[in-house]
């Protein structure tokens, strides 16, 4: 029992630390990549190659003056960013980071918890995240902040529908399981799901951009119209939490996409490689290599997120809604229909 608790504790702290570290270095990578895409050099002053830049940024955030508007509701004002950060960190719990491995003679799973409704949990937590933005925007008692948070919530709710339907199609393809672990495992044997769900992937990807409030869907924080959007009134580390949560969300949604559509920690010819290296199932090395492969995919996804941000201008609000309701929703329904037909012929579903 004690070892179980310690093991869970270790893996919780590891995932927590991993999310924070990846998010911190995503901020650096974002700045670096934007610089590279714009023919600049980018941050390189703090530490070797600017590697300490995230620390400097974080330190700056902490030392900024903390301002809580008089007319705001203090409790809700503080609750907003806390909730956003909390939900952002919670989503990491169901993601399978690597294959099970024997440590000191016992088989451990590299996942905080493998609940059989992992996807539902994920969607539940993500949709609670919008409350943080709503509450924060409302508690600021500022019209810009309120408008920003309204945008955020309507955008998230609209895109969640298309996203959910795309995921239903994915669940059908992967044999009706809601557990992320099983979804990843079943891609080990066959192809990655992207082969069966190309349209679904595109829909999911676009929705993920909207869900994480990334460009071109970053209307909630549209500087041109809304000053800072829902975080207009926030300063110091509370603002930092909002911004930071965006990067954690980006990391998690990249991880989810890699798990759903690109086989997570599996990669082509993995078994051939493991055989050639003479590794037995449950070896630590398999877990490590798989983790590396998973992380490469996540890194690529994060980079694509950023690449898109530094390429596209922001959508207009009506375009955003049009795209969500009139294009993505019908497309996702079409994708669902196609999936059902394809899966029927593949013999995965019977009537």
């Amino acid at each position: 029992m004690l070892t179980f608790i310690i093991y869970k504790l270790i893996i919780c702290v590891a995932v927590f630390g991993l999310s924070l570290a990846v998010a911190a270095y995503s901020t650096l990578w974002e700045r670096k990549l934007s610089a590279l895409l714009q023919d600049r050099v980018g941050p390189d002053r703090a530490g070797p190659f600017g590697l300490l830049q995230p620390l400097a940024d974080g330190g700056k955030m902490f030392f900024k003056e903390e301002i809580i508007p008089n007319v705001s509701n203090k409790f809700l004002f503080i609750l907003g960013p806390s909730l956003v950060m909390l939900t952002a960190l919670m989503t990491g719990a169901v993601i399978p980071w690597a294959k099970d491995a024997y440590v000191a003679g016992k088989l451990y799973s590299m996942q905080i918890t493998d609940i059989n409704i992992g996807i539902l949990y994920l969607f539940g937590v993500v949709s609670v995240g919008v409350y943080g933005i709503m509450i924060g925007g409302w508690a600021s008692n500022n019209k810009y902040a309120l408008l920003g948070s309204m945008r955020a919530s309507s955008q998230m709710i609209s895109y969640e529908i298309a996203m959910g339907i795309a995921v239903i199609a994915l669940i059908i393809t992967s044999g009706g399981t809601l557990s992320l672990r099983e979804i990843v495992e079943q891609q080990d044997a066959g192809f990655a799901n992207i082969v069966w769900q190309p349209l679904g992937f595109i829909i999911f990807f676009v929705c993920a951009l909207a869900e994480t409030n990334r460009a071109p869907f970053d209307l909630p924080e549209c500087e041109a119209e809304l000053v800072g959007g829902y975080h207009t009134e926030y300063s110091s580390m509370k603002l930092g939490l909002f911004l930071f949560a965006e990067y954690i969300n980006m990391f998690i949604s990249s991880a989810v996409m890699a798990a759903f559509y690109f086989g997570g920690y599996n990669f082509p010819f993995a078994h051939e490689l493991y055989d050639a290296m003479g590794l037995a199932d449950g070896s630590k090395w398999i877990a490590l290599i798989g983790f590396g492969a998973y992380f490469t995919k996540i890194f690529l996804f994060i980079s694509v997120f950023m690449w898109i941000r530094w390429t596209l201008p922001r959508f207009r609000y009506d375009q955003l809604m049009n795209l969500g309701w009139r294009i993505l929703l019908p497309l996702s329904l079409l994708n669902l229909a196609i999936t059902v037909v394809v899966e029927f012929f593949r013999g995965h579903i019977t009537f």
């Binding site: 023919d39 690449w307 390429t311």
Partner: protein, 201 residues
Amino acid sequence: MQLTNRSKVVSNKVQTAMEQLYLPGILKGMLITGSHLFKRRATVKYPEETRPVAAVYRGWHVLKRDENGAERCTACGLCAVACPAEAITMESAERKKGEEGLYREEKYAKIYEINMLRCIFCGLCEEACPKEAIFLTDRLVDTEYEREDFVYGKSKLTEKIDKRIDVSKRQTLEVAEFKKLPGLKHNEMWEGKNLNKGNKH
């Protein structure tokens, strides 16, 4: 009612189905930005790396000393008059006995200030100076935190004795010849004298 014939009919072109997909357009845009990953950087890592500047670049001024180390400026104020930005102020003082090694002329600038925020680096002060005392150099003016720090006094302008600044590139023969043109009154004292030798009357 049409007022001018310059008005244009706005094209409210309806997007084609292909354009409405957005994806091809987005991919095209991403390829364009992506190609910039491999382009040459347009910026340089400034303090370590500087862009090449011309030998006659107009930057941070220097108040030259003559070859004996005496300040050449005689506080005539011609530079201040010439300055279109009114960036130069000075206060003159009389040279005391025993200060001949410090100041070449009998009258010298006790205070000489250039406001680097006003200066437009036109180089007219250099052109106006009859004593070959002020030159612009290829040094860039430093960044500062306070506005007052941009007012450069003599401590920042005068050439250091042990760190002489070569302005021979700016002090071309043509310039020297130009300054010796008859009709420019102040040239008379250069008559028959070597430019780089100190001018002792």
